[in-house]
């Protein structure tokens, strides 16, 4: 028995060794490297090994940091609200109102296909809609809603949130749909037989049972938005900032130690948020 268990462990390790080595070299080692570099010094052209706290002191001493972190949370919260509302509604429609499995799969695929295409292209494709002479402005003018083209459509916080919702709602639809499909339909029948109306069924049965899916979707959306730097840059026309942009600006200026310090604080923030969310869901059981 003892021998068998050792054998099992050895076999397990052997099977995960490729996975473990990829994660060690390209995840763990880079994080350690960033921690180390965050204590280094930088000149204009190079970085010098050292052990100084000045990068962190500068980071926490600057009012910009707090504004930018606050802005990052703001983006995450607003995007979360929209994605969860839209994602839940779409998944609910697919799972409970579409009746044949073939149609469910077909419509579900229709929702997921954009996920497999390029994010950058999908961002670019908002230009003809939101630009100064874009479709939205022309339509609003021809309907007489506005007289002058609205300037804040493209290159604004509005555009940033719109792009986030456009890019990441799928990450809500998929896990929520997945959990909804596993709800035993007889529960709903039982509720209806017991006299519950549609709203009561939704509120007392479907929403509580879909919570794990909502949590998994939330983890995806929150981390993607908090770690983003390209959407904010592109859609705000460099007028707004989040933590990711702070880091990428430092990188562009070759200020790697300062970028590293910000990155470490961002990582700790994201992991804390995920840690809280993971208390509500057991990911492995819910897949």
């Amino acid at each position: 028995m003892q021998k068998l268990r050792e054998n099992n462990a050895l076999m397990g390790w052997l099977m995960v060794s490729p996975l473990a080595s990829v994660l060690l070299v390209f995840l763990v080692a880079p994080i350690i490297m960033i921690v180390i570099v965050s204590f280094w010094r930088a000149t204009e052209f190079s970085i010098i090994p050292a052990f100084v706290w000045e990068n962190y002191e500068f980071l926490f001493g600057s009012p910009v940091t707090y504004t930018v972190f606050l802005n990052t949370f703001k983006y995450a919260l607003i995007t979360w609200i929209f994605t969860v509302l839209i994602g839940f509604t779409v998944a609910y429609y697919l799972a409970f109102h579409v009746r044949s499995l073939t149609w469910q799969i077909a419509l579900f695929l229709l929702c997921t296909i954009p996920f497999w295409t390029s994010n950058i292209i999908r961002m670019i494709s908002w230009i003809p809609f939101l630009g100064r002479n874009g479709i939205a402005n022309s339509a609003l003018i021809s309907w007489g809603v506005i007289d002058e083209p609205v300037e804040w459509l493209l290159f604004s916080d509005f555009a940033v949130i719109l792009a986030f919702v456009h890019l990441y709602t799928l990450f809500m639809v998929v896990p929520i749909f997945n959990t909804m499909m596993r709800i035993d339909k007889s529960l709903i029948e039982a509720a209806r037989d017991a006299g519950a109306n549609g709203v009561q069924i939704l509120w007392n049965i479907i929403i509580p049972l879909t919570k794990p899916g909502i949590m998994i979707g939330t983890i995806f959306v929150v981390t993607l938005v908090m770690g983003d730097f390209i959407t904010v840059r592109f859609m705000s026309g460099s007028q707004s900032a989040n933590v990711g942009r702070l880091i990428s600006n430092d990188i562009a200026l070759l200020q790697y130690p300062s970028a590293s310090a910000t990155a470490i604080i961002l990582l700790i923030t994201v992991l804390m948020v995920i840690g809280i969310l993971l208390r509500f869901v057991n990911i492995r059981k819910e897949l």
């Binding site: 995960v16 490297m33 954009p114 950058i120 908002w126 549609g198 990188i251 990911i283």
Partner: protein
């Protein structure tokens, strides 16, 4: 069948709007990429032409588009194969508890939720400080794996959660060795899901931007090339390129979905004949 409730029609309208929201912008740039020669980035169309597509094939002033496409393709295939193999091995291993399995599980989750720019920055620093060359096929390849492997593994976890162990027990009872069981029983059963893993591996790599930004070295991948273009190209040639890459992605997705459908059919045909004996 009972009649549809009124909420059905409201939700259908909502769903249609959602699909329009998802696809509308992409279709718009698809239309605008046929913009006439004098046209700009928005409507109205000044004639209909293939001018911008030809532009893409002819002038190379906008950068090395075809070179970057080739690199993205090769890298995508490398990442795809690695993701499938490593995910299957990992998925099989995670069916039993082994010492360290929960630490590894949390590492996988970390790999999924870590902001991409940290991977880019960290791998870039690691390679440059240890004197290694940053190249798309080494550092870029590894960085992309930190994004595709968690997806592959999550799919494998989902697959094995639903896997009926009695097939394996039956194989073992018939005298199959562990390797034969995996080769002739487990792998054929999970094959359609592996096509899904492959699709994730290829497309996530082909579109990946943030993790390759500082790790691709001097030769750009296609998303990096497109990103570069957004800052200095302001003609519909950008839309033409976007339309072509999107079409390519759709082609790949179509091929994978067709393969998955075929695999499912084959499995259904070769499956159990229970109840058909009479």
């Amino acid at each position: 069948m009972e009649p549809r409730p009124r909420s059905f029609y409201v939700l259908t309208a909502f769903f249609v709007l959602f699909i329009l929201f998802l696809y509308g912008p992409t279709i718009t740039i698809g239309i605008l990429s046929f913009q006439g020669e004098g046209g700009g980035l928005t409507f109205p169309m000044r004639g209909v032409s293939l001018y911008w597509f030809f532009d893409l094939f002819e002038q190379q002033a906008v950068g090395d588009i075809w070179g970057s496409f080739r690199r993205s393709l090769v890298l995508g295939l490398m990442v795809m194969v690695t993701t499938v193999v490593v995910s299957v091995m990992g998925g099989l291993a995670f069916r039993k508890k082994f010492p360290g399995s929960s630490i590894l599980f949390y590492l996988i989750i970390t790999s999924l939720v870590i902001p991409s720019i940290l991977i880019s920055l960290g791998v870039g620093l690691l390679f440059s400080q240890s004197g290694l060359d940053v190249h798309w096929s080494t550092s870029g390849f590894g960085s992309q794996l930190t994004w595709t492997l968690p997806f592959g593994l999550l799919i494998m976890f989902a697959v094995f959660n639903r896997f009926d162990k009695s097939y394996e027990e039956a194989a073992r009872d018939l005298g199959a060795t562990p390797w034969q069981t995996i080769r002739h029983v487990v792998l054929p059963i999970i094959a359609p899901s592996l096509i899904g893993v492959a699709l994730f591996g290829f497309t996530l790599s082909y579109d990946e931007f943030a993790r390759t930004l500082l790790t691709a070295g001097s030769y750009n991948t296609l998303p990096l090339e497109i990103y570069g273009m957004t800052t200095n190209v302001t003609s519909p040639v950008l839309y033409a390129l976007g339309t072509l890459t999107t079409l390519f992605s759709l082609l790949i997705i179509g091929v994978f979905l067709a393969l998955a459908l075929l695999a499912n059919r084959r499995r259904a045909r070769a499956g159990s004949d229970a109840g058909k004996g009479v």
